[in-house]
Amino acid sequence: MLSCKEANRLMSQELDRKLSWGERIGLRLHISMCDGCSNARKQMSVVRSACKHAFALDDKADQ
């Protein structure tokens, strides 16, 4: 069973690389049982989308 600390490292890494099957299962399982980590993961993805908005560069895909 992953600790919250380990789960947090993985949820950052999933923004940068494809997690292995085992990592994905472990993370999903942990998050389904842990509110704190579930919120942390959502917040990390908000940080990413804020970055895309920050310099209004999110219409880049339209080019």
Binding site: S3, C4, K5, E6, N8, R9, S12, Q13, L15, D16, R17, D35, G36, C37, N39, A40, K42, Q43, M44, V46, V47, R48, S49, A50, C51, K52, H53, A54, F55, A56, L57, D59, K60, D62, Q63
Partner: protein, 193 residues
Amino acid sequence: MTIDTSELAALRPDMTRFAYLLLRDSHAVEDVVQATMLTAIEKQDGFKNNSSLKTWIFTILRNKTIDTLRRGKREVSISELSENDDDLEEVLFNEHGSWNQEMKPKAWGDPEASFEQSEFWAVFNTCLHNLPEQTSRVFMMREFLEFEVDDICKELKLSASNCWVTLHRARAKLRLCLDINWFSGQGFQESRR
């Protein structure tokens, strides 16, 4: 298509902020911003109206910033990477690796709504700005220059594990900074009133 130079000038503060977060050297930033504006004026025929001027300018700025980073051959030492880090994980988690109760993240509600508010962006920029220099560089290369992690490691001569840890710290810090200064703090409530 001709570009409007006053529109170009209006983008300057944003360009400066962007380049600064990566280069952290005001002379280098000034050079990059000037070179970008010059290129934009020289190559304005290349600007098609189907993308915004800002997007087009930032593509040029991005490339110039990458060139400058490469020319500078900024090597990151391990000691610089742990700059004022005072073990964030020890603050967040207890000895068993579970959340310290007061650090446990709470739901942010509807964060996208905050993106509409200029006060939110002021907080966000301050949070980005407060990242330690090298952490900010690694994070910006990933999120804004869209480098793959392997390439960041190569460019900055970092070990892979250092790169991962740095990105994780950057995200954890930004998450925490936004939480304290916006989502759980006064800023959010006041602006919602």
